[in-house]
């Protein structure tokens, strides 16, 4: 079935540094969503990308969908301690099912 791999699994950054997580698939994706899960919390929807080469920004977060629609990235500029959590990319498998990637756990050191 559809699988997405995320790298890295873990990332520790100093507060103020940038952070990027990548989501890769061996097959073409119809769309991709990104979620953030704080420690002990539930996933929260951030954004959905649909078009080839699409770039969307939310304040310090920049989301990209690859030209071939096989990969995506989330970049955070100047991380803050509030960015701590696990970031998941999510894609569809079949018509109705969403499959979560393995996630990237971000720690921000003050």
């Amino acid at each position: 079935g559809q699988q997405v791999m995320q790298i890295p699994q873990y990332q520790h950054v100093q507060e103020g540094e940038d952070f990027t997580t990548y989501c890769n698939s061996s097959t073409t994706l119809s769309n991709i969503q990104w979620y953030k899960q704080r420690p002990g919390g539930h996933p929260v929807f951030l954004i959905q990308l649909v078009k080839s080469g699409e770039v969307k920004k939310q304040k310090r977060l920049t989301f990209q969908f690859g030209e071939a629609k096989k990969n995506s990235s989330l970049h955070i500029t100047a991380t803050q301690t509030t960015d701590v959590g696990t970031y998941f990319c999510v894609t569809t498998s079949g018509t109705y099912k969403y499959i979560f990637g393995t996630g990237t756990r971000l720690k921000v050191l003050a």
Binding site: V44, Q48, Y98
Partner: protein, 112 residues
């Protein structure tokens, strides 16, 4: 607007016991989902529903059952609990398939 509400928040079960995890949403969403998340891992889809009366299996359905008699409610039933079912269970909903999920706050289940 409560969103997605899950009860209970925590539960300890003994091996072989049964229980129902409740999930209700007040957003009139057609699509509802149950996921489990083991410690430090991603989310695995257990069951999903595209509308009242319609349910289907996800990646890890064994040991679970669901029903969807109304748009609002999507309970998850565990029969004969096993230690392997120790996990955090999340219910989610969305208005359509290509739309972000709204998650409940989760049920932390321990089977001993």
């Amino acid at each position: 607007n409560a969103g997605v509400t899950q009860t209970p928040k925590f539960r300890i079960l003994k091996i072989g016991q049964s229980m129902t995890l409740q999930c209700t949403q007040d957003m009139n969403h057609n699509y509802m989902y149950w996921y489990r998340q083991d410690p430090g891992m991603g989310l695995k889809l257990i069951y999903y529903s595209v509308g009242a009366g319609i349910t289907d299996k996800g990646e890890v359905p064994n040991g679970y059952n669901v029903s969807r008699s109304t748009t609002e409610d999507f309970p998850l039933r565990l029969e004969l609990a096993a230690p392997s079912q120790t996990s955090v269970y999340f219910c989610a909903s969305s208005p359509t398939v290509n739309y972000g999920y709204t998650f409940g706050s989760g049920t932390r289940l321990t089977v001993v």
